[in-house]
């Protein structure tokens, strides 16, 4: 019996189109032949599954039709749990926020890298600063400008707005200091090692050399006595041991080092480069050699390199003095030619020197 015939029998049996005799015969066949019986069961199941499948499709169609009538979008709006605004903002805009944050971070990093602030590589950092130096010749002018400014008072003892150092040129009260120290000054006082203040007048300035000549014009001022050092006319040699004395703070401070270059970073040959630790406030202080000759006036220090400072060569001090118009001088300005420090040791030199080095206090509005 072929499969088709069996199927035909099964179907006819199931739809009741068999005669009574045929049914009995078929039932007997199923009983005796297990293969026929299992085919029968399989057929019944299969047809049922097909019918259920059809019903399922039908039901899905009905459900879809119903579903289409629902306004899902409106419901969705209504039923979505809205998180707090910050979470919502993050969800809606997180890409934008991320991009903005990235750009910001990138910008900050770029700036840090470009300015070299981020680099932990010390040698590279120094290299970079040196590069900046050679290009910009950036030097920081020594002056106590950074010190806390206080309202100016007429009283000489009041803290100054600006402070530097100056030293005596003559026993009768002529002093030299840096032009940048007294620039924009309303009034200038000088204070000696004993703490006595005297009013001083700026009688001449030479901005191109950063030098200024002051004259003490205070009634309490007494003659200083012969100045112990002289001003060197020739240029000093590299490697010369040098020292200075000045007022970076309230007390006189001694600093020493060596002459390291006949020009500053900018290639300006009017200044020496010296390796002396100096601070703002040392500006205008004398730079002396071993023998006690004034070889320069401290003007500035290198901001990018510790220990490097600059001093205007003494020859320019001499030029400045020559340039002073005679009618500006109420007294004679005759420089001392006799050096009384030459034979002394450093301690004794400093002891003598101390009376001729002044704190220059500048008051302005």
């Amino acid at each position: 019996m072929s499969d088709n015939q069996i199927t035909q029998f099964i179907e006819r049996y199931l739809d009741g189109s068999m005669t009574a005799a045929e049914r009995t015969e078929f039932e007997l066949l199923r009983k005796n032949d297990a293969a026929i019986e299992s085919k029968f069961a399989e057929h019944v199941q299969f047809i049922a599954l097909m019918k259920q499948y059809g019903e399922r499709l039908e039901l899905e169609k009905r459900l879809n039709a119903i579903h289409d009538e629902i306004d899902v979008h409106a419901l969705k709006e209504e039923l979505t749990i809205h998180p707090v605004w910050i979470v919502r903002m993050w969800r809606n805009h997180h890409s934008k926020i991320s991009v903005a944050a990235s750009v910001l971070i990138f910008a900050v990093l770029s700036i840090l890298i470009v300015t070299g602030k981020l680099s932990s590589d010390k040698s590279r950092y120094e290299e970079l600063s040196q590069k900046i130096n050679t290009i910009d010749h950036k030097v920081k002018i020594i002056g106590a400008g950074a010190r806390t400014p206080v309202k100016p008072k007429a009283l000489a003892s009041a803290p100054a707005n600006f402070r530097g150092t100056g030293f005596a040129l003559t026993s009768n009260g002529y002093l030299v200091t840096d032009y940048h120290v007294i620039k924009n000054a309303d009034s200038v006082y000088v204070q000696n090692a004993a703490g006595e203040s005297f009013h001083a007048k700026v009688i001449y300035t030479e901005p191109q050399y950063d030098l200024a000549i002051l004259q003490i014009n205070d009634s309490t001022f007494k003659n200083l006595g012969p100045v112990p050092y002289n001003v060197k006319k020739a240029e000093s040699d590299l490697g010369e041991n040098v020292y200075t004395s000045g007022y970076p703070g309230d007390n006189v401070v001694y600093g020493y080092g060596a002459l390291t270059s006949a020009a500053n970073y900018a290639g300006d040959t009017t200044e020496y480069m010296v390796s002396i630790p100096v601070n703002p406030g040392n500006s205008g202080g004398p730079l002396l050699d071993e023998k006690g000759n004034v070889i320069g006036i401290l003007t500035a220090r290198q901001t990018q390199m510790a220990g490097a400072a600059f001093a205007k060569k003494s020859i320019y001090l001499l030029k400045t003095i020559q340039n002073i118009p005679t009618d500006s001088l109420s007294r004679t300005l005759n420089l001392n030619n006799k050096n009384t420090l030459a034979g002394l040791n450093r301690k004794q030199q400093l002891k003598k020197l101390k009376n001729y080095v002044f704190m220059v206090k500048v008051y302005n509005q």
Partner: protein
């Protein structure tokens, strides 16, 4: 919000009776009554409205078949039953998609319905096989099978539709088709 949803909901016994009597109106009321509840469940648990539609329709089918099979007993509210089935189905779907974070935000009470859902899934697999077997069968066999076995059309109608001159030819064709369909169905893994 849930109060609003309940307002239009038919009573549970109305639904059971309606489904047994093939009432289109009751089916519609059932469907519209609980869909928002399921939409809320799905969209607040990593799903979208299409997921909600799929899951909800499956649950309605599970309920429908259970009522039709006659062994449905009202042990709980229909609402809870539907919610539980959907929840179970959605958890299954989420873990299949690897989107299940181990946490689900619940809105209703729920019952254990694993067995029903698994039975339903088994049957779905069978239906999937049937669908692809019919597709592979091709025309005209597919339509003959559907017309005769699913739509219960008579051989006479089928003969006319396909232009068979003789009913015997049509019958032979039908048996051949059935034979092939069975083969295609059982061949699938």
């Amino acid at each position: 919000m849930n109060k609003d949803l309940k307002a239009s909901a038919p009573t549970d016994s109305e639904i059971v009776l309606g489904i047994l009597n093939n009432s289109e109106v009751v089916l519609r009321r059932l469907y519209t009554a609980y869909f928002p509840m399921i939409l809320q469940l799905i969209i607040n648990n990593n799903g979208d409205e299409d997921d909600a539609k799929d899951i909800y329709q499956e649950a309605i089918i599970v309920l429908y078949n259970k009522i039709k099979s006659g062994d449905f007993e009202l042990n709980s509210k229909l609402k809870t039953y539907i919610y539980s089935v959907c929840r179970r189905l959605w958890l299954k779907r989420l873990s299949q998609m690897n989107r299940y974070g181990g946490d689900i935000r619940d809105f209703e009470e729920h019952l254990p319905v694993e067995e029903e859902v698994d039975d339903h899934s088994d049957r779905d697999i069978q239906f999937g096989k049937m669908e692809s077997a019919l597709r592979l069968l091709g025309e005209p066999c597919k339509t003959i099978m559907e017309d005769f076995y699913i739509k219960n059309r008579s051989m006479q109608e089928i003969c006319e539709r396909f232009g068979y001159t003789n009913a015997d030819n049509a019958k032979t064709q039908k048996y051949k088709c059935l034979q092939r369909l069975k083969k295609l169905f059982f061949q699938q893994k």
